[in-house]
């Protein structure tokens, strides 16, 4: 299985993380950034078309239930950065009919959403994209975001941006329950439940529809879904993880984990941690991809990339910092780095373009051809579904009676 720790010669999987004008806070000020178009379908269609031209496995769409902020746990009132965004599931759905091969993975906040709605939304994204849907689940401990819903508070979260570990663990456990419900609902219809049997007048075989009867610490959900099982059976679930509690969520719930190693040792440790959690969760036989996240500034020569980063930092008024390693350089140098990190067991990478209007093309037109030359990346799409691109089989339905 391609998802197990791989030899360095194995092909890599590549995804791009889309967020506004790009990941650098001053990205919108770069030539080609099109900041006036951020709230149009055409902007997103253009980015995803470019990613598909580069044969990438999938794109993720960042999202949250509050305005972007320069502060980790509080709102800000800045007017010099991109503020405002569109719902990620709807952006993905809007792009689906315009693309053919690339996976579409919107971000969903488990903390404040209904798993029943999320399950049918992502199932439907899978229908409108013919099997290319995924979801990236995240949690939110931001008190100001909770105030948008008025149903819970996070009093332990301080202005300093510190989230108490027990709260983080609790929210991640809740997210695992959320994903469990989403997944059970996807299986709540067997693939052949719709029979349209004119002879007996029955549209469905009700023995093939299943209550999920989930009861958890924070919610209970009865089922079945109102939406039949999606084309992939189980769309792809992804999560970003920086530490043990989040590795546990990936191990329990995800098909793809995004980790943020800064070197080979960090990559090895993250891969090992995820696989240990996977085993602990009783999923040792389920393939789980571990992708490394990197912010990228890509130019034809390293000095140009470094100068661009400096220019953006100057515009932003502060040096850009990230949870992920920040790469600045050429496509060849990035290919070297990806090769090196993949030797530690990462099966792919999710690249965060510092400037979407510049670094995405750096990936699709610079990095991809370089990886292809090295035999490390596909030269054509080999599958029709996201699971197919990731080498994940279509899973059996947990409720179907085995013959």
């Amino acid at each position: 299985m391609s998802a197990s720790p791989s030899a360095s010669a194995s092909p890599l999987h590549l995804a791009v993380a889309l967020d506004g004008a790009g990941w650098h806070p001053a990205a919108w000020r770069e030539p080609g950034a099109r900041p006036n178009a951020l709230f149009t379908a055409a902007y997103w269609a253009g980015l995803v078309a470019e990613a598909e031209r580069g044969l990438l496995d999938f794109v993720t769409f960042e999202d949250g239930l509050s305005l972007q902020s320069s502060h980790p746990t509080a709102a800000d009132e800045r007017t010099d950065q991109v503020r405002g965004r569109l719902d990620a599931v709807l952006v993905a759905a809007r792009i689906a009919p315009l693309t053919r091969h690339i996976g579409l993975v919107p971000t969903v906040v488990a903390t404040h959403t209904e798993p029943f709605h999320i399950s049918k939304a992502v199932a439907t994204l899978d229908y409108v994209s013919s099997g290319r849907a995924g979801l990236r689940v995240r949690v939110s401990a931001r008190p100001h975001e909770a105030a948008h819903f008025g149903r819970r508070t996070f009093p332990g979260v301080g202005e300093g941006g510190v989230i108490p570990p027990e709260l983080a663990a609790d929210l991640l456990d809740e997210a695992a329950d959320h994903v469990e419900v989403v997944r059970r609902l996807w299986d709540s219809w067997e693939d052949d439940a719709e029979i349209r049997d004119a002879a007996t007048g029955r549209f469905v075989d009700r023995d093939k529809l299943h209550y999920i009867d989930f009861e958890g610490a924070r919610f209970s959900v009865k089922g079945p879904s109102i939406t039949p099982r999606p084309p992939q059976g189980q769309p792809v679930v992804a999560a970003l993880a920086h530490g043990p509690a989040a590795y546990r969520l990936v191990g329990r719930s995800a098909d793809v984990g995004f980790v943020t190693p800064h070197d080979t040792a960090g990559a090895e440790a993250a891969v090992e941690a995820v696989h240990a959690e996977r085993t602990a969760a009783g999923r040792a036989d389920d393939p789980v991809h571990v992708f490394g996240d990197l912010v990228v500034f890509l130019d034809d020569d390293a000095a140009t990339a470094a100068a661009r980063r400096e220019r953006l930092d100057d515009l932003a008024g502060t040096a850009y910092a990230s949870d992920a390693r920040i790469f600045t350089g050429t496509a060849v140098q990035l290919a070297d780095l990806l090769e090196e990190l993949s030797a530690a067991g990462l099966s792919g990478f999710r690249l965060r373009p510092a400037v979407a209007g510049h670094d995405l093309e750096g990936i699709t037109r610079g990095l991809v051809p370089e990886l292809q030359r090295r035999g490390l990346f596909r030269s054509a799409y080999e599958a029709d579904t996201l699971r197919g691109l990731l080498g994940l089989a279509r899973p059996a339905n947990r409720y179907a009676a085995t013959a």
């Binding site: 919108w28 809007r94 049918k120 549209f203 039949p228």
Partner: protein, 499 residues
């Protein structure tokens, strides 16, 4: 708002009302005939694309999707005789925005099992992604049965459903209006992205929602989605008169339609609104034939497809609130009376609430069946879901136009019985006749759904200017002035939006 007519003139001196037409994707009930060989998938996106493109080719105002958040059950089991299952409303509408250009996209979204912040950002996003074509049919629910699918559960007492719905909608409107539409500067040279550091700020404190913060989606092209309301009770009518742009009504006969139309439009003045600020759009089915006789024959056949013997028994159980599976659908009605204790037989559907006095309904149906010598199935065919329009294209065009000109409706939301091709014949044969008469557009004149429906684009928070004008003019009975003013305002606002 009247447009130049291109077809044959109607009564001289009387303005021709323009008809609004919408297409309801065939739903999860027995109106939809799945057993027909032409019936396709109600889940696959290709069906939605076919349906939406047909409606857009015919210049319809909008597409309409219904919703139900739990599979229906009867007698403790999932109901399996009708179409079962549907995709997610928002997701389908966003995808359809990619394959259509002009047609409005109306989604039914429940105000009980959602939160205003999330729904508002979904509709605002859909409005951006569709270039101003979103609409929201606000529905309510109180049942614990559906609530079992949601983390919030089914705690809402029945009598509070409209109070929550109204507060939900007003809260969502506060969120839509928290951006005025001119905050985005995005000046790369000066580094000013937002003009206003507090863009999107809101605070709502009410009985059902106590929320505050900043909304994260800038104002969409329409400002707010077009608001539909579907309830028929007194409370529902007040809700519509106060807050809705259109009513999805169920009164499809001429007399009932006129009465409903007059009643609801009368209520508008109380809310400072003019006659044309609320459209009445009943749901209507149709059966087309080359001739009226052929259509009548087809209509009978469709009714038999819609109401099988099993379906008739199950439908009768809604009134009787009893297990009637031992009865012969081709035999007489049951002698036993309905069980009038708590309704337990059918869950997850709205129709059971239609029978407020089951004993009286049972008595009336028995008498009718005896008088006309009808079996259970024949009676149900007769008594439920009669087609609204049956006839040749000319007959149907005549009837639709007559309804609208007689103020029984402002147009119709058509519900075909075949997925996805059920609208094709109507688009090809009836629409051209309506266009010839000059009562239906031959081209879209605007780009947003508000443009199609003749609604102007709301500006900010309470629209105080607009409301004051409407109040003053409506009180004085100066409807023409109100219209002129509304037109002028809409034009000036459009100019503003385009700049």
């Amino acid at each position: 708002m009247s447009k130049p007519t291109t077809g044959k003139p109607v009564t001289p001196g009387k303005p021709v009302k323009q008809i609004h037409l919408a297409a309801h994707f065939p739903g999860v009930n027995n109106t939809t005939v799945w057993s027909d060989p032409r019936a396709g998938s109600h889940i696959e996106f290709s069906s939605f694309v076919h349906f939406a493109r047909t409606a857009e080719r015919a210049k319809f105002d909008f597409l309409f999707l219904a919703e139900g958040l739990r599979l229906r059950e009867q007698g403790g089991e999932i109901y399996d005789l009708d179409v079962v299952g549907r995709p997610d409303t928002f997701t389908v509408l966003a995808a359809l925005a990619a394959v259509t250009d002009r047609i409005g996209l109306t989604g039914t979204i429940n105000s009980t099992f959602n939160e205003p912040y999330e729904v508002a950002r979904q509709f605002a996003s859909l409005d951006h992604l569709s270039g101003g074509r979103s609409a929201w049919n606000v529905v309510t629910s109180w049942d614990a049965f559906t609530g079992e699918n949601f983390r919030r559960g089914g705690f809402l007492p029945r009598e509070e459903r409209y109070s929550r719905a109204r507060e939900f909608l007003s809260t969502a409107n506060e969120l839509f209006d928290s951006w005025t539409g001119d905050e985005l500067v995005a000046d790369q040279a000066t580094g000013v992205f937002l003009r206003d550091a507090r863009a999107g700020a809101f605070r709502h404190t009410g009985r059902h929602f106590d929320i505050a913060g900043r909304f994260d989606v800038p104002r969409g092209p329409q400002g707010r989605p077009v608001i539909f309301q579907a309830g028929d009770s007194d409370e529902g009518r007040e809700f519509a008169a106060a807050d809705a742009d259109a009513i999805f009504s169920r009164h499809s006969t001429l007399d009932a339609g006129r009465e409903f139309y007059a009643d609801v439009k009368r209520r508008l003045a109380h809310y400072g609104r003019t006659h044309d600020q609320l459209l009445i759009l009943p749901a209507a089915t149709f059966v087309l034939g080359d001739t009226d006789a052929e259509a009548r024959e087809l209509a009978h056949e469709v009714r038999r497809q819609q109401v099988s013997g099993q379906t008739a028994i199950r439908y009768l159980e809604h009134v009787w609130n009893r297990d009637l599976s031992s009865y012969d659908p081709d035999g007489p009605l049951p002698d036993v009376d309905p069980d009038t204790t708590e309704h337990t037989i059918a869950r997850g559907r709205a129709s059971v609430r239609m029978f407020r006095d089951p004993l009286a309904t049972a008595r009336e149906w028995r008498e009718y069946a005896e008088a006309h010598k009808l079996s259970i199935r024949e009676l149900i065919i007769e008594k439920t879901g009669r087609q609204s329009f049956v006839g040749s294209p000319a007959t149907i065009a005549d009837s639709i136009d007559a309804f609208v000109q007689a103020d029984a409706a402002d147009g119709f939301i058509l519900v075909p019985h075949i997925t996805p091709g059920g609208l094709d014949g109507f688009a090809d044969t009836v629409v051209p006749l309506l266009q010839e008469r000059g009562v239906f557009r031959t081209e879209y004149e605007g780009t947003t759904l508000r443009d199609h429906l003749g609604l102007y684009h709301p500006r900010t928070a309470a629209d105080p200017e607009r409301r004051a004008d409407a109040e003053r003019l409506a009180d004085a009975g100066q409807r023409a002035d109100a219209e002129r003013l509304a037109d002028a305002r809409a034009r000036s606002l459009d100019g503003r939006a385009a700049s």
